[in-house]
Protein backbone atom coordinates (compact mmCIF):
# COMPACT_ATOMS: atom_id res chain seq x y z
CA UNK A 1 0.00 0.00 0.00
CA UNK A 2 2.84 2.30 0.97
CA UNK A 3 4.74 1.68 -2.26
CA UNK A 4 1.61 1.61 -4.37
CA UNK A 5 0.73 5.07 -3.09
CA UNK A 6 4.23 6.37 -3.93
CA UNK A 7 3.85 4.92 -7.45
CA UNK A 8 0.39 6.47 -7.89
CA UNK A 9 1.57 9.87 -6.63
CA UNK A 10 4.52 9.66 -9.05
CA UNK A 11 2.05 8.96 -11.86
CA UNK A 12 0.00 12.05 -11.00
CA UNK A 13 3.13 14.17 -10.66
CA UNK A 14 4.42 12.94 -14.03
CA UNK A 15 1.09 13.55 -15.77
CA UNK A 16 1.07 17.05 -14.30
CA UNK A 17 4.54 17.72 -15.68
CA UNK A 18 3.65 16.42 -19.15
CA UNK A 19 0.26 18.18 -19.39
CA UNK A 20 1.73 21.45 -18.12
CA UNK A 21 4.55 21.57 -20.68
CA UNK A 22 7.40 21.42 -18.13
CA UNK A 23 8.64 18.30 -19.91
CA UNK A 24 8.93 20.08 -23.26
CA UNK A 25 12.34 21.83 -23.51
CA UNK A 26 11.18 24.08 -26.37
CA UNK A 27 8.37 25.39 -24.16
CA UNK A 28 10.65 25.85 -21.16
CA UNK A 29 13.22 27.76 -23.22
CA UNK A 30 10.47 29.91 -24.75
CA UNK A 31 9.27 30.78 -21.26
CA UNK A 32 12.69 32.26 -20.56
CA UNK A 33 12.99 33.88 -24.00
CA UNK A 34 11.20 37.10 -23.12
CA UNK A 35 13.18 38.92 -25.83
CA UNK A 36 12.16 36.43 -28.52
CA UNK A 37 9.45 33.76 -28.90
CA UNK A 38 8.08 34.27 -25.39
CA UNK A 39 5.55 31.71 -24.14
CA UNK A 40 4.35 32.67 -20.64
CA UNK A 41 2.54 29.33 -20.06
CA UNK A 42 4.93 28.06 -17.41
CA UNK A 43 3.99 30.88 -15.05
CA UNK A 44 0.60 29.16 -14.87
CA UNK A 45 2.26 25.84 -13.95
CA UNK A 46 4.11 27.46 -11.07
CA UNK A 47 1.00 29.40 -10.04
CA UNK A 48 -1.22 26.31 -10.00
CA UNK A 49 1.32 24.13 -8.19
CA UNK A 50 2.06 26.80 -5.57
CA UNK A 51 -1.62 27.50 -4.94
CA UNK A 52 -2.47 23.85 -4.26
CA UNK A 53 0.71 23.16 -2.28
CA UNK A 54 0.49 26.26 -0.09
CA UNK A 55 -3.07 25.41 0.95
CA UNK A 56 -2.55 21.63 1.01
CA UNK A 57 0.62 21.73 3.12
CA UNK A 58 -1.16 23.86 5.72
CA UNK A 59 -3.85 21.22 6.06
CA UNK A 60 -1.38 18.32 6.04
CA UNK A 61 0.77 19.84 8.78
CA UNK A 62 -2.27 19.79 11.06
CA UNK A 63 -2.03 15.99 11.00
CA UNK A 64 -0.05 14.39 13.83
CA UNK A 65 2.03 12.44 11.38
CA UNK A 66 1.97 11.27 7.75
CA UNK A 67 -0.04 8.14 6.93
CA UNK A 68 2.94 5.86 6.24
CA UNK A 69 5.70 7.46 8.27
CA UNK A 70 6.34 8.55 11.86
CA UNK A 71 7.47 12.10 11.01
CA UNK A 72 7.39 14.82 8.39
CA UNK A 73 10.90 15.15 6.92
CA UNK A 74 11.47 18.86 6.35
CA UNK A 75 14.67 20.82 5.73
CA UNK A 76 15.82 22.63 8.85
CA UNK A 77 18.43 25.01 7.42
CA UNK A 78 17.39 28.65 7.48
CA UNK A 79 20.45 30.65 6.44
CA UNK A 80 21.59 31.57 2.96
CA UNK A 81 25.05 30.39 1.98
CA UNK A 82 27.39 30.35 -0.99
CA UNK A 83 26.67 26.69 -1.70
CA UNK A 84 22.92 27.32 -2.03
CA UNK A 85 23.21 30.39 -4.25
CA UNK A 86 26.23 29.15 -6.25
CA UNK A 87 24.63 25.74 -6.80
CA UNK A 88 21.34 27.31 -7.87
CA UNK A 89 23.19 29.60 -10.28
CA UNK A 90 24.98 26.61 -11.84
CA UNK A 91 21.65 24.76 -12.11
CA UNK A 92 20.09 27.79 -13.83
CA UNK A 93 22.83 27.82 -16.47
CA UNK A 94 22.35 24.09 -17.08
CA UNK A 95 18.56 24.42 -17.23
CA UNK A 96 18.85 27.24 -19.76
CA UNK A 97 21.14 25.11 -21.93
CA UNK A 98 18.91 22.02 -22.02
CA UNK A 99 15.38 23.15 -21.12
CA UNK A 100 15.20 20.10 -18.84
CA UNK A 101 14.94 20.47 -15.07
CA UNK A 102 15.17 17.15 -13.18
CA UNK A 103 11.41 16.98 -12.59
CA UNK A 104 10.69 17.85 -16.22
CA UNK A 105 13.03 15.18 -17.49
CA UNK A 106 11.93 12.10 -15.51
CA UNK A 107 8.47 11.62 -17.12
CA UNK A 108 10.00 12.28 -20.55
CA UNK A 109 12.33 9.30 -19.98
CA UNK A 110 9.20 7.18 -20.37
CA UNK A 111 8.95 8.24 -24.02
CA UNK A 112 12.08 6.19 -24.67
CA UNK A 113 13.92 8.84 -26.70
CA UNK A 114 17.72 8.99 -26.85
CA UNK A 115 18.30 12.67 -26.07
CA UNK A 116 16.44 12.69 -22.72
CA UNK A 117 18.35 9.55 -21.67
CA UNK A 118 21.62 11.28 -22.55
CA UNK A 119 20.62 14.35 -20.55
CA UNK A 120 19.58 12.15 -17.61
CA UNK A 121 22.91 10.34 -17.60
CA UNK A 122 24.71 13.70 -17.60
CA UNK A 123 22.55 14.93 -14.68
CA UNK A 124 23.34 11.82 -12.62
CA UNK A 125 27.05 12.20 -13.45
CA UNK A 126 26.85 15.82 -12.25
CA UNK A 127 25.13 14.77 -9.02
CA UNK A 128 27.82 12.18 -8.29
CA UNK A 129 30.60 14.64 -9.14
CA UNK A 130 29.14 17.29 -6.82
CA UNK A 131 28.86 14.79 -3.98
CA UNK A 132 32.40 13.58 -4.49
CA UNK A 133 33.67 17.17 -4.51
CA UNK A 134 31.71 18.01 -1.36
CA UNK A 135 33.00 14.94 0.44
CA UNK A 136 36.60 15.77 -0.49
CA UNK A 137 36.22 19.36 0.70
CA UNK A 138 34.84 18.21 4.03
CA UNK A 139 37.74 15.78 4.47
CA UNK A 140 40.25 18.53 3.74
CA UNK A 141 38.77 20.83 6.37
CA UNK A 142 37.71 18.62 9.28
CA UNK A 143 37.10 21.63 11.50
CA UNK A 144 35.47 23.70 8.75
CA UNK A 145 31.86 24.85 8.63
Amino acid sequence: MRLLSAFAIGLVFGCGILISGMGNPAKVMNFFDVAGTWDPSLAFVMGGALLVTAIGYRLVFKMDRPAFSSTFSLPTKQDLDVKLIGGSAIFGIGWGMTGFCPGGLVPVLGLGLGEPLLTGAAIVAGMLAARLATRMTIKEQPAGA
Binding site: R2, A6, F7, I9, G10, L11, V12, F13, G14, G16, L18, I19, G21, G23, P25, F32, A35, D39, S41, V45, M46, G47, G48, L51, V52, T53, A54, G56, Y57, L59, V60, P66, S73, P75, Q78, L80, L84, G87, S88, I90, F91, G92, I93, G96, M97, T98, F100, C101, G103, V106, P107, L109, G110, T119, A121, I123, V124, M127, A129, A130
Partner: protein, 142 residues
Amino acid sequence: MTNFTPFLSLGGGLLIGLATVALMASHGRIAGINGIVNGLLTTRLSPDWAWRFAFLAGMIASPLILLGATGQLPQISIPSSPLLLVIGGFLTGVGTTLGSGCTSGHGVCGMSRLSVRSIAATLTFMAMAGMTVFLIRHVFGG
Protein backbone atom coordinates in the same frame (compact mmCIF):
# COMPACT_ATOMS: atom_id res chain seq x y z
CA MET B 1 7.37 28.80 -31.46
CA THR B 2 5.23 27.02 -28.89
CA ASN B 3 1.57 27.83 -28.32
CA PHE B 4 0.45 29.69 -25.22
CA THR B 5 -1.43 27.05 -23.17
CA PRO B 6 -2.68 28.76 -19.99
CA PHE B 7 -5.40 26.21 -19.19
CA LEU B 8 -3.35 23.05 -19.79
CA SER B 9 -0.41 24.55 -17.92
CA LEU B 10 -2.59 25.60 -15.00
CA GLY B 11 -4.20 22.15 -14.94
CA GLY B 12 -0.81 20.45 -15.02
CA GLY B 13 0.38 22.74 -12.24
CA LEU B 14 -2.64 21.82 -10.11
CA LEU B 15 -1.81 18.11 -10.58
CA ILE B 16 1.82 18.74 -9.60
CA GLY B 17 0.57 20.51 -6.47
CA LEU B 18 -1.85 17.70 -5.70
CA ALA B 19 0.90 15.07 -5.94
CA THR B 20 3.24 17.24 -3.85
CA VAL B 21 0.64 17.52 -1.07
CA ALA B 22 -0.17 13.80 -1.30
CA LEU B 23 3.48 12.79 -0.89
CA MET B 24 3.73 14.90 2.25
CA ALA B 25 0.46 13.54 3.65
CA SER B 26 1.38 9.91 2.94
CA HIS B 27 5.17 9.66 3.26
CA GLY B 28 6.02 12.94 4.99
CA ARG B 29 8.39 13.78 2.18
CA ILE B 30 9.23 16.79 0.04
CA ALA B 31 8.43 16.11 -3.63
CA GLY B 32 11.79 17.38 -4.82
CA ILE B 33 13.01 15.32 -7.76
CA ASN B 34 16.66 16.17 -7.17
CA GLY B 35 16.42 15.05 -3.55
CA ILE B 36 14.51 11.88 -4.40
CA VAL B 37 17.08 10.85 -7.04
CA ASN B 38 20.02 11.82 -4.84
CA GLY B 39 18.66 9.56 -2.10
CA LEU B 40 18.89 6.63 -4.51
CA LEU B 41 22.54 7.30 -5.33
CA THR B 42 23.93 5.61 -2.26
CA THR B 43 26.31 2.69 -2.02
CA ARG B 44 24.57 1.21 1.01
CA LEU B 45 21.21 -0.43 0.56
CA SER B 46 18.64 1.64 2.41
CA PRO B 47 14.99 0.93 3.36
CA ASP B 48 14.43 4.44 2.04
CA TRP B 49 15.05 3.27 -1.52
CA ALA B 50 11.68 1.61 -2.08
CA TRP B 51 9.36 4.62 -2.01
CA ARG B 52 11.83 6.73 -4.01
CA PHE B 53 12.03 4.03 -6.64
CA ALA B 54 8.24 3.59 -6.72
CA PHE B 55 7.68 7.35 -7.08
CA LEU B 56 10.15 7.68 -9.97
CA ALA B 57 8.72 4.56 -11.64
CA GLY B 58 5.29 6.19 -11.49
CA MET B 59 6.67 9.34 -13.09
CA ILE B 60 8.35 7.37 -15.87
CA ALA B 61 5.13 5.41 -16.49
CA SER B 62 3.04 8.60 -16.72
CA PRO B 63 3.29 8.98 -20.54
CA LEU B 64 1.47 5.63 -20.83
CA ILE B 65 -1.44 6.96 -18.78
CA LEU B 66 -1.67 9.96 -21.09
CA LEU B 67 -1.44 7.67 -24.11
CA GLY B 68 -4.34 5.66 -22.73
CA ALA B 69 -6.39 8.74 -21.92
CA THR B 70 -5.79 10.83 -25.03
CA GLY B 71 -4.67 8.26 -27.61
CA GLN B 72 -1.36 9.99 -28.21
CA LEU B 73 1.99 10.48 -26.53
CA PRO B 74 2.87 14.03 -25.48
CA GLN B 75 4.83 15.87 -28.15
CA ILE B 76 8.11 17.42 -27.12
CA SER B 77 10.79 19.26 -29.02
CA ILE B 78 14.43 19.49 -27.93
CA PRO B 79 16.13 22.52 -29.49
CA SER B 80 19.61 21.90 -28.00
CA SER B 81 22.40 19.84 -29.58
CA PRO B 82 23.55 16.63 -27.84
CA LEU B 83 26.74 18.39 -26.75
CA LEU B 84 24.73 21.18 -25.11
CA LEU B 85 22.48 18.56 -23.47
CA VAL B 86 25.46 16.79 -21.93
CA ILE B 87 27.14 19.97 -20.66
CA GLY B 88 23.84 21.47 -19.46
CA GLY B 89 22.74 18.20 -17.89
CA PHE B 90 26.02 17.87 -16.01
CA LEU B 91 25.71 21.46 -14.72
CA THR B 92 22.11 20.72 -13.71
CA GLY B 93 23.22 17.71 -11.65
CA VAL B 94 26.08 19.60 -10.01
CA GLY B 95 23.99 22.70 -9.33
CA THR B 96 20.90 21.03 -7.89
CA THR B 97 23.06 18.85 -5.64
CA LEU B 98 25.15 21.76 -4.30
CA GLY B 99 22.06 23.97 -4.09
CA SER B 100 20.03 21.20 -2.38
CA GLY B 101 17.08 21.41 -4.74
CA CYS B 102 15.58 22.05 -8.14
CA THR B 103 12.38 23.50 -9.58
CA SER B 104 10.18 21.06 -7.65
CA GLY B 105 12.02 21.04 -4.32
CA HIS B 106 12.79 24.75 -4.02
CA GLY B 107 10.34 26.19 -6.55
CA VAL B 108 7.19 24.39 -5.40
CA CYS B 109 7.74 22.73 -2.00
CA GLY B 110 10.05 25.33 -0.47
CA MET B 111 8.41 28.46 -1.86
CA SER B 112 4.97 27.29 -0.72
CA ARG B 113 6.37 27.03 2.83
CA LEU B 114 7.82 30.56 2.37
CA SER B 115 11.33 29.22 2.96
CA VAL B 116 13.83 32.07 2.51
CA ARG B 117 16.45 29.64 1.19
CA SER B 118 14.06 28.28 -1.42
CA ILE B 119 12.89 31.72 -2.53
CA ALA B 120 16.51 32.85 -2.93
CA ALA B 121 17.42 29.64 -4.79
CA THR B 122 14.42 29.89 -7.13
CA LEU B 123 15.08 33.55 -7.98
CA THR B 124 18.72 32.65 -8.66
CA PHE B 125 18.12 29.69 -10.98
CA MET B 126 15.29 31.43 -12.84
CA ALA B 127 17.46 34.50 -13.45
CA MET B 128 20.43 32.40 -14.59
CA ALA B 129 18.26 30.25 -16.87
CA GLY B 130 16.82 33.41 -18.42
CA MET B 131 20.27 34.85 -18.97
CA THR B 132 21.54 31.60 -20.46
CA VAL B 133 18.65 31.33 -22.93
CA PHE B 134 19.20 34.98 -23.90
CA LEU B 135 22.90 34.33 -24.56
CA ILE B 136 22.24 31.14 -26.53
CA ARG B 137 19.48 32.59 -28.70
CA HIS B 138 20.32 36.26 -29.10
CA VAL B 139 24.05 36.65 -28.56
CA PHE B 140 25.55 33.42 -29.91
CA GLY B 141 22.56 32.99 -32.23
CA GLY B 142 21.97 29.27 -31.51
